[in-house]
């Protein structure tokens, strides 16, 4: 059964998501050589990074996010765009820092899997709902779509059909399922949680008892810090060595690192990966 990672990148006037996806693909090539990754994009991919992608796929069914800065309206299409029978979906602003081959074995038992536990840079379970008030106040399942998995199957297809419906009619669905702390704009996490609630399938698409698959979530207000900050990079330093091992404030990072801040992608980090992978 074919398997691989898929990522959606749509540049806007502030952020080069294709570059982020390329960095992700380089990190995957470094730690998981041979694992396929496909990029769904309508933007131009620099020629030196093309070799890291198995396939570069145009966004199917037109671009629903053409007029959006926050381009999430195409996320539901990833099920249809994926060339793999088994797919892990990732956000572009992630790095894969360890061998994740065992995750694929774990995921074999699932048709759809969402991470529901994420971790701080100190490898502590995130317990704060600072960014997830909508989930707690509306009793929505705490799903993170930034890292999820599907197997081409009737179950996953039905889920994604509903996801399309919720994303395209988000105001209606959020009005019904997310009245408290109403998000104000479409969110794939909230939409996936609503679909999970509609289909009553939470028990079969996540597992809060396992530590992996998961990711390190670098949003600043969930790091168990007393001092308030709008940017985690103002609080702790990033160190990357020649082997592309990353430390955040003395803490070696493993697994999947979700850096969340665009300015994390510096020339130094890109150069480290380029040097290691002979780009």
């Amino acid at each position: 059964m074919s398997k691989g990672i898929i990522v959606l990148a749509q540049n806007n006037n502030k952020t080069d998501y294709v570059l982020q996806a390329s960095l992700l693909a380089m990190s995957l090539a470094d730690t998981n050589p041979g694992t396929c990754i496909s990029l769904v994009t309508n933007d131009k991919v620099p020629v030196e990074y093309k070799k890291f992608f198995d396939k570069i796929i145009p966004i199917p069914f037109d671009d629903n996010a053409e007029d959006e800065d926050w381009k999430v309206s195409n996320r539901w299409k990833l099920y249809h765009a994926s060339p793999y029978e088994r797919t892990i979906v990732m956000d572009t602003d992630m790095l894969v820092l360890q061998d994740i081959s065992s995750w694929w074995s774990f995921l074999e038992d699932y048709e759809l899997f969402f991470t529901s536990n994420v971790y701080t840079y100190r490898n502590e379970l995130v317990t704060s709902d600072f960014y997830r008030k909508c989930f707690t106040s509306n009793k929505l399942p705490n799903l993170y779509s930034g890292l999820h998995y599907f197997k081409k199957s009737d179950t996953a297809k039905e889920f994604y059909k509903w996801l399309e419906l919720v994303v395209n009619n988000w105001e209606l669905f959020y009005g019904m399922y997310a009245k408290e702390n109403y998000p104000g704009r479409v969110s794939i996490d909230v939409s996936a949680a609503i679909v999970s609630k509609i289909l009553d399938c939470n028990d079969t698409i996540t597992n809060s008892k396992v530590k992996f698959p998961s990711f390190t979530h670098m949003k600043p207000k969930i790091q168990n810090w007393e001092q308030d900050s709008d940017s985690w990079q103002d609080c702790v330093g990033t160190y990357i060595n020649k082997n592309c091992e990353i430390k955040i404030g003395n803490h070696k990072q493993n697994g999947i690192f979700h850096y969340t801040e665009d300015s994390f992608v510096t020339d130094e980090i890109i150069e480290r990966y380029r040097n290691k992978l002979n780009v």
Partner: protein, 286 residues
């Protein structure tokens, strides 16, 4: 071959606090509750022999008196009184080499043993154990200070009580603590510690973090029991066998206290002045 085991206390007086007095008091309690020999590392052997019953110690390990590396710090005696005195805390990393025992229980002299829980360390398989979790008996105060060495930094471990066996790995660990101590200004900056004051808790914690590969890990296992403490703004009022009475500072009411009784709990009493007053009271009643 049977392994030797015992407790080690460090006592270096600083002109304000009598750590020898505290050590003698604690040695008696260790003998009573844990029934292991106790040795003392001190720079004031003559004072110990002259003023106290030194037979409570299995061995007296003398170290030279020095005022090198001494920092002054504030020692509170309740919330309204404090004194400045030298903080002679720079030989804890040498305990690995100085201890005469294969299996050592290292204790601060202000850790008041009131049960036999630590006796079980010697029967456990873990070669090094410390407290990481801790409980302020006042309950109402922010305990975050003792969760991380600083807000953004690594997990905090207490160097107050350390059980260790002499193993090559533990030798590396203690050498690493020494290295951190010798390069304290570098490490405190790297680990985002604002204070220049060297603290063993910090050095032990940083070294654990490094031994764990700069991640959370299990190089150090938890000691049996819970680590209870009171800060130096509280007052120890009475000790009677395994019972203690504390006056705990009231939150937001400077100079006012609440009484708290404990029974059967070993407690880290940071107000050493009040501890010494209570030791004198106990001695007078003996």
């Amino acid at each position: 071959m049977k392994k030797s085991k015992g407790a080690i206390l460090i006592a270096r007086n600083n002109g304000r606090l009598d750590y020898i007095k505290q050590a003698v008091f604690l040695a008696k309690r260790i003998s009573h509750y844990i029934q292991i020999p106790v040795s003392i590392i001190t720079d004031s052997k003559d004072y110990l022999l002259d003023k106290f019953d030194s037979s409570v110690f299995d061995d007296i390990i003398e170290i030279p008196w020095t005022d090198k590396n001494n920092y002054n710090r504030l020692f509170y005696d309740g919330s309204l009184s404090h004194k400045t005195a030298p903080f002679k805390n720079d030989i804890r990393d040498q305990v690995y080499d100085l201890s005469p025992y294969d299996e050592t229980l290292l204790l601060d002299t202000d850790y008041i043993i009131s049960n036999d829980l630590l006796k079980s360390c010697f029967d456990m398989n873990d070669d090094i154990m410390m407290f990481k979790e801790s409980y302020d008996i006042a309950k109402s105060r922010n305990e975050k200070e003792f969760k991380y060495v600083s807000d953004y930094s690594v997990d905090f471990y207490w160097a107050t009580v350390v059980f260790f066996r002499k193993t090559p790995e533990n030798k590396i660990y203690f050498d690493l603590i020494k290295h951190v101590k010798e390069n304290w200004n570098h490490y405190r900056r790297v680990y985002q510690i604002k204070s220049e004051l060297f603290r063993n808790d910090f050095a032990f914690s940083i070294a654990i973090h490094i031994m764990n590969g700069f991640d959370k890990g299990d190089f150090v296992k938890p000691l049996p029991g819970k680590h209870y403490y009171t800060i130096d703004k509280d007052i120890l009022w009475k000790i009677e066998n395994d019972k203690m009475l504390f006056l705990v500072e009231k939150e937001k009411y400077l100079g006012e206290y609440l009484p708290i009784k404990t029974k059967g709990n070993s407690i880290h009493v940071m107000n050493k002045f009040s501890l010494e007053r209570v030791i004198d009271k106990v001695a007078n009643n003996e």
